[in-house]
Symmetry: D2
Subunit: 265 residues, 4 copies
């Protein structure tokens, strides 16, 4: 049963939603920098993480079109090996080290949920879209060039059809390259059972090598709204201010997980 | 953070895919009895479960239209609190007690995945449909009456759009009431992390009270096919023989979980 | 090529989204009576229809779970032959006869779009849900009994994932049977081509026999909201007042279409 | 009511699935050349079109990731203005002119259905995926370079969840640029009503300017299968031989429609 990373576990391993790492990813990304109330960040952080006093509540809202693969050209089965994702990173500190903490994340693929929950990403199903750049010149092509505008949206809940979340990065003229510091990502896994007293939580740092495709990096002005929606708490980290928007290519590989801290449930 | 049973965990608890039990369910069900190679069953069972020599490889393929709720009329939000499900139960023995073991299960709702994985159901996203009975008389009504025919199907993979699984319970004239023994259900949870050596598995028995709506119980002849499909191993428990099909209403409540056996990963 | 009612037209007729009538339907319905500004109704009516001065802007918002079939037990293929629908009917007058006119309608099935457009229903893809009644007693069963509460929602746009429409019939205690007058339904088909001057419109009355399942008819208090959403004009007929809500079973068959009026494009 | 090209028609024009042309498109495409039985092609052609004796049954299976826009940066709303498409073109002759005729086409967007049916494309809902090329180097990136492999799939029916069509262009090493003759596209619109004798059909040629992005054009070996599936006739034009596969960028604009031939229903 060695091939299955997730359920269903079978001797042949074909049914499993996820097979064993390494997992390789490449993506197109839209990211918007914004500022959040530090108290709202503090309320979301797990024990051991604290707000980053130096970051002034800095957060990023990301939209990603992903393709992933194992070691066997799985990417040639795009119905399973592509997905779209939207998530928030808020800046925090763990053990004196600046980190990005992920409190909300949406994907449109159950294999991405399986791998994400195992690492600690709190994924839910959602429908995520971002404007893409196409090669053939057209008013519809949105090339990576000055004056292009990009939009993105995420909706989620239950089966993803109801509209509790509408995060929208309004189109922006593209002006300057992206530049932000790198922080390790921290996420909290949460393993509950119906039985009382059997919960388990840990905060983890996914170990991964990352490559950013600099020739595809652009920045510009941005808009972002996180309205109040039924069944979501995300409006509590709605933007107090909105910074620049960025478009970039990014790749990484996941091979391991570092557990930063375990908690009793 | 006490209201969240699953991620995302927030102080307000609205974002969580699942809130704390009890969870209450009511459903319409189609079930087809069939027979499977005992060696194929044995290959799927976790340590501690063995084939039931007396059952001759008996299995059931179930299709269910579910509605669930907590304690606050959540059923009035049907986009989140309805889902469709298809699963297989194979008969086995745990510690001398006859049980039903669930090796494959598909749902169309991420909240159902969250609650299911916590109990040990190996859920994947799929698209599931069954013929429904409607009250207004019509050729389209499929009443619970002699001569009515019911069909069902499940497709799954990745985002549920690719066709690896097509299980089809062909329509059947409805002849006689359902009658089968009750066995506790056993399922195996599987908690992996990318890091080597951190897997955890346990076989559990979800604790629940169950009610079957006898006035809605009918049986008849049935057909069932589990073809070979890419990305699935389920054809290995394809029917050697097909028995009766049944249609019934069923309700139950989940409050707790009994862990039958823990394993090292 | 006689079997195909819609594209794709093939000699064998299996590929067609819709085959030739008659079409038979049975459904569970939630309907909410409400009142609309008569000027807003007038703005939506096609030439030949006028506001019904006696109806004081009466409208109904309907949610329907449908099953349909041709003459060959197509209902045993529920993935194709079930769909969910939400629509508005506003009261109007055509040629001195009181009618119900349908300006907005959403479905989750392309075969329903094909049959609907051919009749004149202005269907778009949406995701529609309503609370269902199940037979097995449970807090989740929502039986047709005093005190039960029902909800419904519709979301739509593009692929149905974005949230421009959120119509919500809030749960209501069920108090009294449904009673409303019958009016023929009027709808306007609209056949455009990219070439200028080749549009065609007609207002039609779908010919159908209808059966209402009275034993399943209940009424009660209701709530309804039609908020402003991007990409929709439906908020212009938002409720000025909300009347009763109703739950009922309904069946009908479609065999023909009566063209009330043709227009130049 | 001048802004609406399709239903729903409102004075404000926001609800309409499609607004008036011009429509601008840019796409990434995978196309596989293959050969079909000429009799099978003949059986699909509408009156006035005949098989192209010189083409030896040549056909192409296309997969396209589209972005489209009107004149107002609609592409910044990607949930509505992106879609995925799969279709077949068979070579034929109309009035002595070689054309490509489209008998089957699948899309995942109702606005694409509305615009397509108006032109004559026999669109159905389906789920379509193709491997994408990403900029950030990774095993998952599938760059446009020698050795990359691409796959694609389409599934369709009813709500698109059931698997009647599984067309698969197996991954192929990319070897040489694309080169094929240009033929105008011919499609047949089909306007039925439930009333007998009111059908209308015409064969049309969508007028459009086209740009192919040559720097993104690559070719290589290919595989293609069109298996027998329930509810589809497409296997009747399954490949007798499979030629090269191609990957390219393509853009075009639609402004008008040329009606080649009208038929009585």
């Amino acid at each position: 049963m060695s091939k299955a990373f997730s359920v269903p576990v079978t001797p042949q391993g074909k049914s499993a939603l996820a097979t064993l790492p390494p997992w390789h990813y490449s993506s197109d990304c839209l990211a918007v920098e914004y500022g959040v109330d530090q108290n709202a960040i503090a309320a979301l952080l797990p024990p051991g993480l604290t707000v980053d006093e130096k970051s002034a509540g800095r957060a990023f809202f990301w939209f990603l079109d992903w393709q992933f693969t194992g070691s066997n050209d799985e990417l040639t089965d795009p119905a399973r090996y592509q997905y779209r994702e939207a998530f928030v990173l808020v800046e925090a500190v763990f053990d004196g080290v600046p980190v990005n903490y992920c409190p909300y994340i949406f994907v449109d693929n159950d294999a991405a949920i399986a791998r994400g929950w195992a690492q600690g990403f709190p994924k839910k199903l959602g429908s995520v879209y971002q404007t893409r750049s196409f090669s053939a010149p057209s008013l519809a092509a949105a090339p990576l060039a000055k004056g292009s505008r990009f939009g993105a949206s995420v909706t989620a809940h239950g089966k993803g059809w109801r509209p509790p979340v509408s995060s929208w990065s309004k189109p922006s003229p593209i002006l300057r390259p992206f530049s932000t510091g790198r922080r390790p990502c921290a996420v909290t896994s949460h393993s509950s059972r119906p039985a009382a007293g059997t919960n388990h939580r840990s905060t983890n740092s996914p170990c991964r090598s990352r490559t950013v495709s600099r020739s595809w990096m652009w920045g510009g002005s941005a808009e972002l709204k996180l309205p109040v929606v039924d069944g979501e708490d995300m409006h509590l980290i709605a933007p107090l201010r909105v910074g620049q928007g960025y478009r970039l290519g990014m790749a990484y590989s996941v091979t391991d997980l570092r557990i930063l801290k375990n908690y009793a449930g």
